[in-house]
Symmetry: C2
Subunit: 469 residues, 2 copies
């Protein structure tokens, strides 16, 4: 069975039961059912709760067994001691996948938690049921309008090409919220929790095949089988970019990772280097995780590390230059023809070498357009970063150059930063991101996104040269 088929009943179920569904907002089962209904899920929904007859207009069933139809996916939010019997019923019913929200398994201090997790894992494995969790906020498949989580607001996230595999509900939530400021969205957001029988490596393998996922982002605390994760990552990165944020770098936070997920975080440096060697782009904050994933989801992967910076104001250009050089990128030198053309377009009051300060052209979209045209065609340029902060005097700029940037984004890596008050240039920025030009609120974030792209391009080059041997 192909891996896509194998996971289809979980990510594209034709029916979902919510075990522990409730009409009491103090229960997670209330929020799970709300997420599923409000998220616009199109399949059949079965609330399961022995105490009630109906919830939110849906007939409720006393048990999974009592559901009259097939159940593909069960979202389970009942107290931990009841989970084994629910799992047994699910197995009997032929349920194919489970999202286990309930906490109180191997993450707890008492060893009874680990024992309970072994018990349910055995039931699930025997019945070939895939389990996301326990101790997870759930999972969201945006393209299928399937919000199998306890947070209805995940359905506000835009549909897009980023697949997130996360070991923290908190990080999944905040990354989703970060994305809401922009126009790039997610394919799937998966909260692994304490990994009963679905781990990073499994989800990497699945997302590598998933046609809706263009780039895979991972937030990692600790893993059980690091060897397998690295091996799988090494295969996957040859086909799709993977970006990872590994935490637990220091003793106290490493200990906390262990407590949280019930697995050793391991030596940070060893993990991080192994991931890098496998071609994974490693990052150092949630913001960077999302920013780099967004660039990888939209941009053409650059063929090299030679950058040109065009900046409406000198400061942001210098900042981008600092970040690029700090990370081994090269501020390219133009060909003689390009340099001459730039000097023809810009008067000597502007910085006419890289980074280029548009000078008086910062509010002249025609000149700016010609400049983008000239530098984009230079064969010494692998990527373009263009920055301009809004001022009322340059208001037409983004409309003017937008079309051209959208055109060049097909041929070269183009990244933008166009800081503006909240309600200004909004439409223009949406249009750019729809045309594969990612836009960031500060020049440093734009530059770091580019660094991520170049890291992936370097990984690909390493891989293809190894294959030649």
């Amino acid at each position: 069975m192909s891996i896509l088929k194998e996971y289809e009943p979980i990510f594209y179920p034709s029916s979902v039961a919510v075990v522990g569904a409730s009409s009491n907002p103090r229960k997670l089962g209330y929020h799970c059912l709300k997420s599923l209904i409000d998220g616009g899920y199109g399949g059949r929904i079965f609330p399961v709760n022995p105490g009630v007859l109906e919830i939110r207009g849906y007939k409720a069933y006393p048990s999974i067994a009592a559901v009259p139809d097939r159940v593909d996916l069960a979202i389970v939010a009942v107290p931990a001691p009841s989970v084994p019997s629910v799992f047994k019923e699910c197995a009997m019913k032929g349920v194919r996948g489970i999202v286990l929200i309930t906490a109180g398994f191997r993450e707890i201090e008492d060893k009874s938690g680990s024992e309970l997790q072994s018990e349910i894992a055995a039931i699930a494995n025997e019945a070939r049921m895939k389990v996301i969790g326990p101790n997870t906020f759930g999972m969201v498949n945006l393209h299928a309008n399937l919000n199998a989580s306890f947070t209805p607001e995940f359905s506000l996230v835009k549909k897009g090409g980023i697949g997130l595999i996360s070991q923290s509900g908190g990080v999944s939530h905040l990354t989703a919220y970060l994305s809401m400021h922009g126009n790039v969205g997610f394919s799937k957001i998966i909260g692994l929790g304490n990994r009963c029988n679905m781990d990073f490596a499994d989800m990497l393998e699945y997302m590598a095949e998933d046609p809706e996922t263009k780039v895979i982002a991972m937030y990692i605390e600790g893993v059980d089988d690091a060897r397998r994760l690295v091996d799988v990552a090494d295969k996957v990165t040859a086909r799709k970019p993977v970006v990872a944020y590994k935490v637990g770098r220091f003793p106290a936070s490493n200990q906390a990772s262990y407590s949280h997920t019930g697995s050793l975080a391991g030596k940070y440096e060893i993990y991080n280097s192994a991931l890098k060697q496998a071609g994974v782009v490693t990052v150092y904050s949630c913001t960077e995780l999302f920013d780099v994933a967004k660039a990888l989801a939209l941009c053409k992967i650059p063929s090299g590390n030679r950058v040109v910076i065009l900046s409406g104001q000198a400061g942001p250009g210098i900042i981008v230059g600092d970040v690029c050089e700090d990370n081994g990128l090269i501020l390219t030198s133009f060909s003689k023809e390009t340099q001459e053309a730039v000097e023809k377009l810009l008067p000597p009051v502007a910085m006419r070498r890289n980074p280029i300060d548009l000078g008086p052209a910062w509010h002249d979209s025609e000149t700016c357009e010609r400049l983008v045209n000239v530098v984009s065609r230079d064969e010494n340029v692998d990527a373009i970063v263009i920055c301009a902060a809004y001022a009322s005097a340059n208001e037409p700029l983004l409309r003017g150059i937008g079309k051209l940037l959208r055109k060049f984004a097909k041929e070269k890596t183009v990244i933008g930063s166009f800081p503006s008050p909240t309600n200004v240039w909004k439409k223009e920025k949406v249009e750019l991101e729809l045309a594969d030009v990612p836009v960031y609120p500060t020049p440093e974030r734009a530059a770091k996104a580019l660094v991520g792209l170049v890291r992936y391009s370097e990984a690909l080059a390493r891989k293809s040269s190894t294959n030649l041997l």
Copy 2:
């Protein structure tokens, strides 16, 4: 004359002339006049332009000399060659301060630019006129509703305690826009430009005395008199926090800094260390510049580096821990009493050591309140970072703990991160920032803001121990 008196006519002028005012939106003089009028400036406004009789309902004058009243401040946006004669007229008229928007002085390739700047500097110095610029977007004094810049949108910035001295218009704009997402604002935003006779050191001395400025933020490309800047900073930081972002770390961007501002950026490391030694908190991005300034404007300066992390979800707590430990902060150990009290409040399914995962208390604001209460009173705690991502299940949390956080912010350093969809928890976050609890969109940004606070606290401790010798 006190320094406040000396600069009063510039920052609190009773009348302003806009030389080069225009009704043509393609001219910067149009935008300057618009900023002044729309910003709600309460003094007298005199457009100066020989070609017109009236602009936007204001009588226009053919020259500064023709203005019938006293002029405190002149905003000048005329072509560079006309600037010397405008300066001479200003001197004759008794103008006290000038904001010189015009570019084309010592930043340009041709040496005629430097000569022109020397010429106008001589006129200004002779007449004791203070000049902001040339080659600047201008200056904004929020508390006086004085928008002396070419960007009317600066008037949307909130009034607050951050004074920004910046060598880049682009960075000033983007920092202002960054602030618009939150609830903390600026006292003054000053675009130094190419520094005719007002430099970083002058503005530092002024802002140190300015009662509306609580913290001074600087964006630095290059300075002419580094010695003086460091000496002044050393004095100022004993009284008020100063945070600086110095760019030009690498050859190409350093060269660009030179070209932009007409002054050598100098060896980055030497500058940065000297600033640090002077007690300045140095940062590495625009986001961090604003984030740290915001914390310094609101928070109690911590008495030490011992931190407690309370997190609604484990992941963000681990992230804060990583950033803290990476920067030499200590994840504190509680006293025996505190630890016992924590273990009484939280069941063994949560992480009950620092960083604390609220576990089941993440949606129970009463328990959460008790926890904050217990850990805040521990004398091993200098600062508290509290994080919780929104989920519909914990919606009441922030209302519940808000009051308590606001109370403790008077006694201890409290920093929060409460990621949420744009329109959720909005009011609660505003209330927290109004009560001196800065709130950040990600745990890493919250942690880095705390690092900035601890750096300043260490600088103060160094200073006071030196004074004892």
